[in-house]
C-alpha cells in the first residue's frame, strides 16, 4: 500500500500502464520534461523516453485526431488535454470520429484510447480553466466518461480505462488533486467502469455527485444530519457514461428523496439525466421532487465570484431539507 493523493495515484497508474504494455504512449502539451502542468506525468519521460511520453505541438485537434490514427494502427494512446475547456478544438474529432469509428466500420476498426483532462473550479484558476463541461461529452454515444473522486478510484478507473476496448474520457477534478491522501494498493488493479459507489449509507434522502462535488456532498450530508437529524445516503457516480442506473434506482427506492449535485450550470446539465433516470425507474418511491443543486446558468465566473457560484455544503443541506419538507400536493 502507498499513501497517495489523487494525482499521485494517476501518475502511478500511468507508470504501470507504460511498464506493462509497449503499445501504450502518452502524448500532450508539456507532458514531457515539464511533467504536465499539474505534474501528472512527472518523471515519466525520463523513465520511458521521448518515444513513449511525447510533447506535441500546441494542437488539440491534432492530439486527438492523431490518437485515432495511433489507435487504429496498433498503439494505445493516452492523450492529455491540459484543461478540459481546451478540448474544444478537438471536439469535432471526438464527436465525429473517436465516438463513431467502431460503429461506422461495423467493428472492423475501433479507437481504444484514453483522454485525460483536469477540470472544474475552486482553485482560483484563470478564465476558462475552471469550466465543468462534462455533459457535452456524456451526451455523445460511443464515448465513455469517467470521473474519479478518490485516489483509489483514480488509479483503478484509469487502469480500467486504458484496458477498455472503447475510448474513455477521464476527467480529473483538479480541486481535489492534492486535497487528501489515501492508502492505495501497489501494482495493478482495476475499478470497473460504469459502477457507482455508495460513499455513505443513509435512509432519508440520496445525494448524487461525482468528482470534486463528492466531498461537498458529504459535508452537506453532515450538516443536514447535525442540524436536522436527517440520514443522508451519498452516491459517487464515478462514471457518467455508462451510467449506473441500477444504483440510482436502488438508492431512491430506499430513501424516496434525492438531490443531484454538480458544478456545471443547471440548464440541460447532467443532473437532468439523473432526474430522468429516477423518473424512469423509481417514481413510485418518490416523496418529493428531485432537487438540483448546481452552478447557475451563467458562464463560470472569474475567481472573485467563484465562491458564490460553486455549490457548497450549505446549498447541499438546503436542497436536502427542501426535499424533506416537501408536502405531496403542496403545488396543486
Amino acid at each position: 500500500m502507498a499513501n497517495t493523493t489523487l494525482i499521485g495515484a494517476i501518475t502511478d497508474a500511468l507508470r504501470i500502464a507504460l511498464q506493462q504494455d509497449e503499445r501504450v504512449i502518452i502524448l500532450g502539451e508539456d507532458v514531457g520534461k515539464n511533467g504536465g502542468v499539474f505534474r501528472a506525468t512527472e518523471g515519466l519521460q525520463e523513465e520511458f523516453g521521448e518515444t513513449r511520453v511525447m510533447d506535441t505541438p500546441l494542437a488539440e485537434a491534432a492530439i486527438i485526431g492523431a490518437s485515432i490514427g495511433l489507435a487504429v494502427n496498433g498503439m494505445i494512446p493516452i492523450a492529455e488535454i491540459q484543461f478540459l475547456a481546451f478540448a474544444y478544438p478537438a471536439y469535432e474529432q471526438l464527436v465525429s470520429h473517436v465516438s463513431r469509428i467502431r460503429m461506422r466500420s461495423q467493428g472492423r476498426f475501433s479507437a481504444p484510447m484514453v483522454v485525460r483532462a483536469p477540470y472544474g473550479g475552486g482553485i482560483r484558476a484563470p478564465e476558462l480553466h475552471c469550466d465543468s463541461p462534462e455533459v457535452i461529452f456524456a451526451h455523445v454515444p460511443g464515448l465513455k466518461v469517467v470521473v474519479p473522486a478518490t485516489p483509489y478510484d483514480a488509479k483503478g478507473l484509469l487502469l480500467a480505462a486504458i484496458a477498455d476496448p472503447d475510448p474513455v474520457l477521464f476527467f480529473e477534478p483538479m480541486r481535489i488533486y492534492r486535497s487528501f491522501r489515501e492508502e492505495v494498493p501497489e501494482g495493478y488493479y482495476t475499478v470497473p467502469i460504469g459502477k457507482a459507489r455508495v460513499v455513505q449509507e443513509g435512509t432519508d434522502c440520496t445525494v448524487f455527485a461525482w468528482g470534486a462535488m463528492v466531498p461537498v456532498a458529504l459535508q452537506g450530508a453532515d450538516l443536514a444530519r447535525k442540524q436536522h437529524g436527517i440520514s443522508v445516503e451519498v452516491i459517487d457516480l464515478r462514471s457518467l457514461s455508462p451510467l449506473d442506473r441500477d444504483a440510482i434506482r436502488d438508492s431512491v427506492m430506499k430513501t424516496g428523496r434525492a438531490v443531484v449535485l454538480h458544478e456545471a450550470p443547471r440548464h440541460a446539465g447532467f443532473g437532468a439525466e439523473i432526474v430522468a433516470t429516477i423518473n424512469d425507474l423509481a417514481l413510485d418511491a418518490l416523496m418529493a421532487p428531485v432537487m438540483r443543486v448546481t452552478g447557475y446558468d451563467t458562464p463560470y465566473p472569474l475567481f472573485a465570484l467563484e465562491d458564490a457560484y460553486m455549490p457548497d455544503a450549505a446549498r447541499v443541506a438546503e436542497g436536502i431539507v427542501q426535499a424533506m419538507n416537501y408536502e405531496i400536493g403542496a403545488r396543486l
Binding site: N34, A59, R124, A125, E127, D297, P299, L302, A304
Partner: protein, 347 residues
C-alpha cells in the same frame, strides 16, 4: 530565410528622439508594473498572472505604431499593448484579480478582451478587418499571439482567410522562445515563423523583437500597407520570455539559467537606453524623472485596483444576455438571498 535576415533598426535615426524617449518610458513603466504584479501574486493579493518581462519592446514598439481606431485582438500576455492602446492599468490588474470589469475597455477603445484559449482571437481579427473593408473604414485589425499559437488550426484558417480576402490586418507573433515548456524549435520545423506566411501568399517579416525601433518601423510599414489596401502581413518579433510562463509555472524545470543569462544581455530596455545614449538623450536627470513618474503611475494603479469596491453578483448575472431570461432572474434572486444569509451568519 535565415536568422541574418532579421530586421534590426537602421543606423540613421528613423524615429524622433522624443518618440524613443517615450518608448523607453513606457517600457520601464510596464516592467515595473509587471514585477509588482508578480510580487502581488506571491503575496496572495493577485490571481495567477502571465508576466511579460523581456517582451516590452515587441509589445510597445508595435502598439505605438497603431492608430486609435485600429482594432486589437490580444492573447493574455499583452498588458503593454493594452495599456498603450488605451486600457487603464487598473483594469488590466482587475482582470488578473478575477474580475470581469477588468476585461471591459473604456468606451471607444478598440480592444477585445484577453483570449485565454490559444489562437482563438486570430480569426476574430480577420472578421474585424473584413468589417473595416466592407464598411470602407480607415481602420485595420491587429492580432497578437505566441509561437505556440501557430500550431493551432485557428491560426492557419485565419491566415488563409485574410490572405484570400486581402484584409487590412496585421498578424503579430511574439516568438518568445517557448510555449510553456516547449521550445520553439520543437513547436515548428521552420527556422522562422515568418516563413509560414509564404504558404498563404502573404508577406512575412521577421524582426528583432527586443529592438523597439525595429519593431516600431516594421509595424508602421505593415499598418500603412494594410490601411492602403495592400493586404495582410505576418510579423514575427523574435524575443524572449524572461520569467516563467505564469506565476503558476517554474521555468527552471525546463530551461537553463545560461540561456536566460544570454537573453539578459539583449534586454530591450538596456538597448533602448544605449540608443538614447548614442543620441545624447539619456541624462541622469531625465531618467530619474522618468522612473519616478513611472513609479507613481504604477503605484497609483495598484492602489486603485485595491480600493475598488468588492465585486457584486451583478457581474455574474447581468450581462449573460441583454434581457435577462426569467429563469436566470430567479437564480440571481436565490444567489442574492444566499449571500445575504451567509453574511448574516458571519456578521
Amino acid at each position: 530565410m535565415s536568422v541574418d535576415s532579421i530586421r534590426v533598426s537602421q543606423k540613421e535615426p528613423q524615429v524622433s528622439t522624443d518618440m524613443l524617449q517615450r518608448m523607453y518610458e513606457l517600457m520601464w513603466m510596464m516592467r515595473q508594473l509587471d514585477r509588482r504584479a508578480v510580487a502581488l501574486q506571491r503575496q496572495g493579493r493577485l490571481g495567477t498572472y502571465a508576466p511579460l518581462e523581456g517582451q516590452e519592446a515587441a509589445q510597445i514598439g508595435s502598439a505605438l505604431a497603431l492608430r486609435v481606431q485600429d482594432f486589437v485582438f490580444p492573447s493574455y500576455r499583452e498588458h503593454a499593448v493594452a495599456y498603450v492602446h488605451g486600457m487603464p492599468l487598473k483594469r488590466i490588474l482587475l482582470y488578473w484579480n478575477g474580475r470581469y470589469d477588468g476585461a471591459m475597455p473604456p468606451e471607444g477603445v478598440n480592444l477585445f478582451p484577453v483570449s485565454v484559449p490559444i489562437a482563438t482571437q486570430i480569426p476574430h481579427a480577420a472578421g474585424a478587418a473584413l468589417a473595416a473593408k466592407l464598411r470602407g473604414l480607415d481602420q485595420i485589425a491587429v492580432t497578437y499571439f505566441g509561437d505556440g499559437a501557430t500550431s493551432e488550426g485557428d491560426f492557419h484558417e485565419a491566415m488563409n482567410f485574410a490572405a484570400v480576402m486581402e484584409l487590412p490586418l496585421v498578424f503579430f507573433c511574439q516568438n518568445n522562445g517557448y510555449a510553456i515548456s516547449l521550445p520553439s524549435r520543437k513547436q515548428t520545423k521552420v527556422q522562422r515563423i515568418a516563413e509560414k506566411a509564404t504558404a498563404y501568399g502573404m508577406e512575412g517579416v521577421t524582426v528583432d523583437g527586443n529592438d523597439v525601433i525595429a519593431v516600431y518601423l516594421a509595424m508602421r510599414e505593415a499598418v500603412a500597407k494594410a490601411a492602403s489596401g495592400g493586404g495582410p502581413t505576418l510579423i514575427e518579433a523574435v524575443t524572449y520570455r524572461m520569467g516563467s510562463h505564469t506565476t503558476a509555472d517554474d521555468a527552471s524545470r525546463y530551461r537553463d539559467a545560461s540561456e536566460v543569462e544570454m537573453w539578459k544581455a539583449r534586454d530591450p530596455i538596456l538597448r533602448a537606453e544605449n540608443a538614447l545614449r548614442e543620441r545624447g538623450a539619456f541624462s541622469e536627470e531625465w531618467v530619474t524623472q522618468v522612473r519616478k513618474h513611472a513609479e507613481e503611475i504604477v503605484t497609483e494603479a495598484i492602489l486603485d485596483m485595491q480600493s475598488e469596491p468588492p465585486v457584486t453578483l451583478d457581474q455574474l448575472f447581468d450581462h449573460v444576455y441583454r434581457d435577462m431570461p426569467k429563469e436566470l432572474a430567479i437564480q440571481k434572486q436565490e444567489a442574492l438571498s444566499r449571500q445575504a444569509k451567509g453574511e448574516s451568519v458571519r456578521g
